[in-house]
């Protein structure tokens, strides 16, 4: 192991910790930069042995349209849920759906499940052991459950797959 990788086992994390430290303190004074650098160097050295290898993001630029799309969907989801909540309760037909997954690594699945939870009327509930199915609770179930499955697979999973290039 080279000297540089021993001091900076996770260089990206070091930079991120420094930035978060400066943002938390709302200041860019020399003192905070030094303190943040110490935090950014010590924490990765301590945490490096615990790291689980994750797939890298192959196409980072695709993250921007994805994020914008998710923000838009979150706003829409909020309005939809707000209207459902205020309206009559017996109109709501909840249900469970099992969504077959094509992804098989932890990080992409986490991104997908978080997105599913944040967006229209769905909360992820459980993942099958072999990572082939994601169980989702749907607040207002359409008559055809394939509608939900197609939405999750087509709108989100396909894009997550593109980002991670798998």
């Amino acid at each position: 192991m080279s000297m540089a990788s021993r001091i900076f086992p996770m260089p990206l994390h070091s930079v991120m910790l420094l930035i978060v430290w400066l943002m938390l303190n709302n200041s860019f004074s020399l003192g905070h930069i030094i303190l943040g650098s110490v935090v950014g160097i010590v924490i990765p050295i301590v945490c490096a042995p615990l790291r689980i290898p994750q797939p890298v993001i192959k196409r980072p630029l695709k993250l921007i349209p994805y994020t914008l799309m998710v923000i838009k969907d979150v706003l829409v989801a909020n309005l939809e849920v707000a209207l459902l909540v205020i309206g009559p309760m017996n109109r709501i037909k909840p249900g469970f759906v099992a969504v077959p997954l094509d992804l098989d690594e932890h990080l992409p699945i986490t991104v997908l499940t978080s997105t599913v939870t944040m967006t229209p009327g769905t909360v992820s509930a459980e993942l099958s052991e072999d990572k082939s199915y994601l169980y989702v609770h749907v607040l207002n179930m359409p008559d055809d459950e394939n509608e939900i499955i197609d939405l999750i697979k087509g709108r989100y999973e396909a894009r997550v797959k593109e980002i991670f290039g798998c």
């Binding site: 909020n78 499940t113 944040m118």
Partner: protein, 124 residues
């Protein structure tokens, strides 16, 4: 602060307030545990987000200082809220929390508890 600046902050505060209120009403009105999960995870992200933006603009307008910590709070909220919802739903499934009548595809709960893929649907 000028009138326009006050207006921006006020509108953000009102929007945030409405969404947090709706989230709380949802928590109270929805019928079962799973449905109740939906209201707070969604309504509060936008609600709290817009409250934090109001705070950010207020700081910017009154002190001329751009405060970034609100952005961080929003970011942490967006990262943690789905994880919490997922864990709560998972625990509810394992404890077999009762669901309201008319919940579709209840047979999924059984296989989900064992973390197995769903069985082929058997029509009865």
């Amino acid at each position: 602060m000028s009138f326009i600046q006050e207006l921006v902050v006020t509108i953000l505060l009102v929007i945030g307030g409405i969404f947090v209120l709706v989230g709380s009403i949802g928590l109270m009105r929805l019928r079962d545990f799973y449905a109740r999960l939906h209201a707070p995870t969604k309504a509060t992200t936008v609600g709290l987000g817009s409250l934090l933006f109001a705070s950010m603009f207020y700081q910017l307008f009154t002190q001329g200082k751009f405060s970034i910590s609100e952005l961080l709070i929003t970011l942490f909220l967006v990262i943690t809220a789905p994880v919490v919802a997922h864990m709560l739903a998972k625990v509810a499934m394992h404890y077999q929390v009762s669901t309201i009548k008319g919940t579709k595809n209840l047979h999924h709960v059984k296989t989900a508890r064992d973390q197995q893929p769903p069985k082929k649907e058997t029509r009865s």
